[in-house]
């Protein structure tokens, strides 16, 4: 292959300050889970820097520790070795600075759309009227006007995930962590939500870490892509995604797109095969 992909270290980063301290810094993290059946090393000596305002997509085979990594950044779990830094300070517990979006939405079924979106603000003891105003803004942003008083079980999957995004944004986190957020949605809904997320990213410039196993999704959304190895999870490859915006159908049919896709697939494929060998052994 005639070097179609330049290693990230030498690539100019589109509009993102190169020398600024990283927003999130994962330093030599190892995570071992112990269970009755023995120990499983989910992540091994993984290091990764994420800059402020970056849209990082992590791609990898299932069971490669992508979610484990995200849980460490969110503070849901702690590393066996190494540490995760947010703005240079170690993450020691769950922090609202890193808003998490789950694949299963995790909406509170006993709260209406509006009450769900207001949740983080209520936790900050924000006055009711102010809360309502702010929630309305984000419900509007995700296009759910008119559904304020609806309970989640009346909503479709796509709408639920939009509520979850609005709930996270209303809380104004610096970092958004998305764990395969669109994996459970149908293809059309997924596309709509991907476009919506890109618009939100461009408007609010949050730092985003997004996990997926869809290479197309990674190419559509990211400013940088990290491919993870099969268990124990490590970084197999980093690719700066220099595709032009908006990444419409033309871009998706361009040579550069196909080139990147082929490149990522070849390394993901190797990892998938490796992980299947591990499972059958």
């Amino acid at each position: 292959m005639d070097t179609p992909v330049t290693p990230s270290a030498e690539t100019p980063r589109n509009g993102i300050m190169e020398n600024a301290a990283p927003k999130i810094s994962v330093k030599g993290v190892t995570k071992v889970f112990s269970s009755k059946r023995g120990e499983v090393t989910a992540l091994k000596d993984l290091s990764l820097d994420i800059r402020d305002g970056e849209f990082l997509v992590i791609v990898g085979a299932s069971g490669c520790g992508k979610s484990t990594l995200l849980n460490l950044v969110a503070g849901f779990d702690s590393a066996t070795h190494g540490e995760v830094l947010l703005d240079g300070r170690p993450v020691t517990g769950i922090t609202p600075e890193c808003g998490m979006i789950f694949q299963q939405y995790a909406l509170f079924p006993w709260k209406t759309v509006q009450e769900n979106v207001e949740f983080g603000l209520k936790m900050k003891r924000m006055p009711r009227s102010e809360r309502k105003e702010r929630a309305a803004k984000f419900i509007d942003l995700v296009g759910l006007n008119g559904f304020e008083k609806t309970y989640p079980h009346h909503l479709s999957g796509g709408m639920k995930q939009r509520v979850s995004i609005a709930r996270s944004l209303a809380n104004n986190p610096q970092v958004m962590l998305l764990d395969e957020p669109f994996a459970a949605l149908d293809a059309m809904t997924r596309q709509v939500l991907q476009e919506q997320l890109v618009r939100i990213y461009e408007k609010h410039r949050k730092t985003i870490i997004f996990i997926t196993h869809s290479i197309d999704e990674a190419l559509l959304l990211s400013s940088r892509i990290v491919v993870m190895t099969a268990r124990p999870g490590r970084i197999a490859q980093e690719i700066t995604n220099d595709l032009p915006h908006p990444r419409n159908a033309d871009v998706q049919l361009s040579d550069r797109y196909l080139e990147l896709k082929r490149h990522i697939w070849s390394s993901v494929q190797a990892e998938v095969l490796k992980s299947m060998e591990v499972e059958t052994r």
Binding site: P96, C98, W110, K111, M123, N171
Partner: protein
């Protein structure tokens, strides 16, 4: 179609009840049943009219209902927050577990002698019997209900800045409320058995007292009237409870 057949079924139920009462009345009138052992429906109705007239029927019914309600509400108000607390703290669960395990198998009847010794034949004694009979099982229902919460929701709440207390109040309580209410419905039935047994042993009013007193004077119709009143009162409270449940859980409505 369905609604029509449903209303037909109501008539079937009503019909079977009337046939039963008719047969009963007939057997009594024809002398197959001794009224001392089993008075006829009309005798029971006559007794009801008489006791409604002198106000004693209402007095006994209200006395028992009040005792059940006070004991049950106090027990629930203590058990709900305590159960949610124990459900979210494994340490304190371990601290209290031996006592709950010891209390739970005790039937409320077994508390009657001690409660009489400590409190005498008082209203407080009646409340305490209902409380002791329903507290430990309610607590276990509530602890169990807290375990049905999806841990992902707790994570999401913590991620949005909720403290431990916030999680209990905003996630665990509302999330386990459907199961808690289902459990309390069962407990309400148990509270009634508590109060009737307490009144059978020692009381000056109440449906249990009425039944016991009727037996003393060989007024079998009073005994049966007391039993019928228990059934009717529990049925009415059950309907009210269901209304209250629907209001409390609007999000479970389809």
């Amino acid at each position: 179609m369905t609604s029509k057949s449903n209303s037909n079924l109501v008539f079937v139920s009503l019909g079977s009840l009337l046939v039963f009462l008719g047969l009963w009345e007939l057997l009594c009138r024809m002398g197959f049943i001794e009224p001392l052992f089993m008075p006829s429906p009309t005798q029971i109705i006559a007794r009801a009219v008489k006791m409604l007239d002198d106000g004693s029927l209402v007095q006994h019914t209200l006395a028992s209902t009040r005792r059940v309600m006070v004991g049950f509400v106090v027990s629930s108000l203590v058990a709900i927050p305590f159960g949610i607390f124990l459900g979210s703290s494994r340490f304190f669960m371990a601290v209290f577990d031996p006592f709950i395990s010891l209390l739970r198998p005790l039937p409320s009847m077994s508390w009657i002698p001690l409660s009489l010794l400590w409190l005498g034949i008082t209203e407080t004694q009646k409340y305490s019997i209902v409380f002791m009979g329903s507290f430990a099982p309610s607590l276990l229902y509530i602890i169990e209900a807290t375990k049905s919460i999806d841990p992902l929701l707790v994570r999401a709440a913590r991620n949005l800045g909720a403290s431990n207390l916030d999680v209990m109040r905003e996630v665990i309580l509302p999330g386990s409320l459907p199961q808690i209410i289902a459990g309390l419905k069962v407990m309400l039935g148990i509270a009634w058995t508590c109060i009737i047994s307490a009144e059978l042993v020692a009381a000056r009013e109440g449906l249990g007292f009425m039944i016991m007193n009727g037996k003393e004077y060989f007024q079998t119709d009073t005994v049966l009237l007391g039993m019928v009143m228990i059934s009717i009162t529990v049925m009415i409270i059950d309907v009210l409870f269901r209304k209250f449940e629907r209001r409390l859980l609007p999000w479970t409505r389809q």
